[in-house]
Amino acid sequence: MPGSLYKAAAIAGAAEANEIGFLKEPVTSLQLHIEAIKNLSDQTGIPISRIDGVFSTGWSTELCEHLGITPKYIDTTAVGGCSFEMHVHHALAAIYAGIIDIALVSHGENGHSANQLGGRGVGNYAAGAGQQSPAFEMSMAYGLGSAPSNYAHAMVRHMHRYGTSREDYAHIAKVSRDWATLNPRAAMYSKEKHPFGGPITAEQVEESRVITWPLTILHCCMVTDHGGAVFVVSPKVAAGLKTKPVWIAGAGESMSHGNMLQMEDFTKTSARHSAEAAYTMAGLGPADMEMAMVYDSFTITAAMTIEMLGLAAPGEGHLPWKDGRAAPGGAFPINTNGGGLSFNHSGMYGMPLLIEAYRQLSGTAEDGVHGDPGKQTSARTCVVNGTGGSLSTTGTLVLIADD
């Protein structure tokens, strides 16, 4: 008997870059990708603008940005030469699931030209165009460094548009620290654990050292060590486990750009689209959520995300923290582990978001080792939102507790 994915999708066309082989005029991997995609579009008559899933070995954000498209399924599986067969498999599953209709699987690799361009290993396998990207070429001269150097521009625009002050956002850092003081695993749990740990005030956030104005260091997440994992299982498997299941009611993903040069509106992220997909899948809305776990790379990231998730009006993303609703004991807890600001942030914070959401909804949010009570809430639903890149990509989950 065939499996459920049997004939669930088909390959509709196949094309290559204009010139292939040992090219006399060196080309970038990016150009090879784009030529092949254009030719595929011409061959099949499928407009590039209709592509809604993109699969590549690490190139997907860059390809989408270059093409000016924002698909709702983004895959970058890069496990060597067989990656493309896997991309087809993943696309089949996504199409079978009804998430997408038109999947692009793309390849571009300037194995020969790279030698002539003096960048062997750059812009090749799984690396994106890197220093051969035109976006990099046109932005690398201007003294931007790590994440805060770019995110601060979004904060300034957001403050300008809505008339908010930096102090409004300082409450996010203060409240997140309050949560961390209830979590013995949090890096900033106490003064004993870290010299800068323990409670802080909004004033202290404001007076701390400037990293990129208007972001002071306490508006920024930490850089720590973290490891984490979760299981996603079928209902049948879930029924026989010792642990309580937390159900994935909805999921969505989106992107708006790769490089902030291409971010049309610095006050909005694609979370509004990924959240819409997740809420729709769940048959639930923001009003049904009882808590939230959102990526807080910076205070502004958390505030903007809350707005995108429909949990606050535009320009009022800071209010749940400022008025105490997001704080311990508040009506709508947010980032109950202490967040990337005060719990842990190793660089990619998506996994800690998932772990805390699971713990809250399974009733295991109190610290298992130390037995400290405090951060467990009564929430039965949670919206989780991760933000990647430079406010570039977003993934939203709607999770609900078991019965």
Binding site: K38, H66, P134, I211
Partner: protein, 158 residues
């Protein structure tokens, strides 16, 4: 060979001079399809890619129009005028830029549409509240090496 001369920026007062020191900050590596931009920059012109089919400009330079997906692309000379979309002041920075910190980075909305990143000139990084979103700016070019003149934007006095 005589090293490239460079325009020296002495700070927010906007005093300019010229010397023979080499440009110390990162210099872009020119791409395989961006030559018209850098040729224009050497001549003091800001060149933008434009789609011949839909008529729109785009930034940064593409292999394909991100608006209509035509590959019939050309270049136009832009006015070099724009306005500040947003900005930030870089205090903690790395490498050669460290010596210049604090400095103001900004995203500029070009008169022709689209947005460029820059280091803003003619502003005081110690008084960020005085920088105005929407303020008019004009492009200027700084020679970094013989091939590469880098565009920067300066606030235009009203």
């Amino acid at each position: 060979m005589r090293p490239a001369t460079r325009v020296v920026y002495y700070g927010w007062l906007g005093v300019f001079g010229e010397d023979l020191l080499s440009y110390t900050k990162p210099i872009p590596r020119q791409g395989t399809h961006t030559k018209p931009f850098w040729e224009g920059a050497r001549a003091g012109k800001l060149m933008l890619p434009k789609c011949e089919d839909c008529g729109r400009v785009h930034w940064y330079p593409r292999h394909i129009c991100p608006n209509c997906h035509s590959t019939n692309l050309s270049w136009i000379e832009a006015s070099g005028e724009g306005t500040i979309y947003t900005y930030a002041v870089q205090h903690l920075t790395f490498g050669p830029w460290k010596e210049e910190a604090p400095y103001v980075t900004a995203y500029i909305d070009l008169k022709e549409g689209e947005r460029m990143l820059t280091v803003l000139r003619g502003v005081d990084p110690e008084k960020p509240e005085e920088i105005k979103i929407g303020a008019r700016v004009q492009v200027e070019f700084e020679p970094a090496d013989d091939d590469t003149h880098i565009p920067f934007f300066r606030v235009v006095e009203e």
